[in-house]
Amino acid sequence: MSRGVLAVAESVDGHLAASGREAAAAARSLSEGGTVTGLVLGTALAGPAGELSRAGVDRVLTMEAPALEGRRALPWAAGIAAAAAATSASVVVLPGTAFGRELAGAVGSLWDAPATAGVTEIVGSDAEGIEVARPAFGGRATQRLKLTGPRIVLALRANSVPPAPPAAVPAPIEPIPAPELAAGILAGEPVGFAAAASTGGPELTQAAIVVSGGRGLKAPENFALLEELARSLGAAVGASRAVTDAGWKPSSYQVGQTGKSVAPQLYVAVGISGAIQHLVGMMSSRVIVAINSDPNAPIFRVADFGIVGDLFQIVPALTAEIRRVRGLAEPGRSPGA
């Protein structure tokens, strides 16, 4: 059954966020031949709109308004509901970000539609509705649920849907006016921003590969070993609570129950024993590798592949091997030098 689907994308530093490409790809699979419309909201949208126009959508709408600057869920939701109505979309797909979850709630209420978030799989779709799967209980279970009715709202989980290959011909881009927004939902204003301590790689919850370190690294300066490994993989760097509590790394690095939940394609736990606190934050990862000197470390029970050994020898060997197979230069040497 073909249906119109609206895919909403966020932008980061003037570019389309990867989560927007994933939303576009999921929208395409749900459309079953119907029209897929991409939507970007805010200000200075030319860059992200151009990128979205090659992400597998049939057309792109740009909703430009100062009131949509900054990420406020309710004004965005009003804009999304208006765009859905204008395009006769029956499904809205939202990106797998923290803000995507906020949008799912607000769009669900404004559009009076069932909504869910953290979707890792579209299980099925028929004339009644859409069945999806999402992790629950800290990744200890998967709940499948079916949303039904003439309007449905889904927010994805990052890294769950492969983005479409870039289209050769860009989809047309058109502006759409923002709806009138009630003053009440625009009360207050952003007064500052502190960028997260940069790990030099992708953001932790959005990364396809995460390399995390624990107390087994013995000292904060030894994180350099992990950072080298992460660079060779294009991975984000995370840490266990022991590490962030000890102040070796800022709390923004923490993976676990009281930190960030991650579900990358590949999770490499180095020198992490595997306290339940940590496990619930990473157990949904597709493939888990553990490197630890203690053969009885609980992390080996949840890992798919394990290496018992001295991480100070294993990690550099692993970095060198990954560089070799990926054809990457050693650091400090320019390619071809």
């Binding site: 906020e102 200890r140 998967t142 499948r144 952003p190 960028a195 590949l266 290496i307």
Partner: protein, 263 residues
């Protein structure tokens, strides 16, 4: 300041998870439902704000089967909340997020609140959509993933940080406001025994299931279809090796050719 703090009864974190007999959802037989996760932080933050702003009152609100909801509301009263409202869930009716927001809006409508506080996501389903679903329902600004929530009496505004993938935004927003909390200033407190005993006798306001049902749509729009547990982890396949380089070669070969997770 009038604060509403919304809490959800969720299975104790040590509960054994298994599918219900029909396979659709968690089997709740014998499972203890408690106040947990981000909701505990929300209650702690509500009490900290109450203590820092003289004359403040905190009302806890829970939606669920009566016995479970009463249990978590008694826990909030033992911790220091001043009053409690129990929204009886219509038995057997599955609610989507927008409908849950409609039900909770009934409690919000009983008296003006300057702040409606809840955990950024529940401790069981972890969908994380309710703070903004409720905000949109009642037409008030709503923010989730909030940390460091302060009240500035001079400007009559809340000041807070909000976590995003890129970093922390700082906001100043006047009351009334809906906040999905990521972290309170402190770790959640524990209740004193005498307060636990005293809380058993305190009154709880009730909104009956019929009134909740009347606020919902005509038919459910969301239903659980299957509750799946991951296949039991059999433990890692351990890589046997002599030199570290051999371990690295084997692992990379597996990740690239078998698991196909290398870029």
């Amino acid at each position: 300041m009038e604060i509403l703090v919304l809490v959800k009864p969720v299975p104790e974190s040590e509960s054994r998870l298994r599918p219900s007999p029909d396979g659709r959802q968690l089997d709740t037989e014998g499972v203890k439902f408690v106040l947990a996760g981000y909701d505990e932080s929300a209650v702690e933050q509500a009490l900290l704000l109450k203590e820092s702003v003289p004359g403040s009152k905190v009302r806890a609100v829970a939606l669920g089967p009566a016995a479970r909801a009463e249990e978590v509301l008694r826990a909030t009263l033992a911790l220091g909340c001043d009053a409690a409202t129990l929204l009886e869930a219509p038995p057997g009716r599955e609610l989507d997020g927008a409908e849950t927001a409609r039900a909770l809006a009934l409690a919000a409508a009983k008296g003006p609140a300057d702040l409606i506080l809840l955990g950024k996501q529940s401790g069981d389903q972890e969908t994380g959509i309710l703070p903004t679903a409720l905000a949109a329902r009642i037409g008030r600004p709503g923010f989730s993933n909030v940390l460091d929530l302060r009240w500035d009496p001079g400007s009559n505004r809340f000041r807070f940080a909000r976590a995003t993938e890129a970093g922390e935004e700082r906001w100043e927003v006047p009351a009334p406001l809906v906040v999905g909390l990521q972290q309170a200033w402190n770790d959640p407190r524990t209740a004193k025994l005498q307060n636990i005993l005293r809380s058993r006798k305190l009154p709880i306001d009730r909104i009956p299931a019929a009134e909740v049902a009347a606020a919902l749509g005509p038919a459910p729009r969301e239903s659980a279809t299957k509750f799946l547990l991951p296949p039991p982890r059999t433990g890692a396949k351990m890589i046997e090796y002599g030199r570290p380089e051999e371990a690295a070669e084997q692992l990379v070969r597996i990740l690239r050719d078998t698991a196909r997770v290398l870029p």
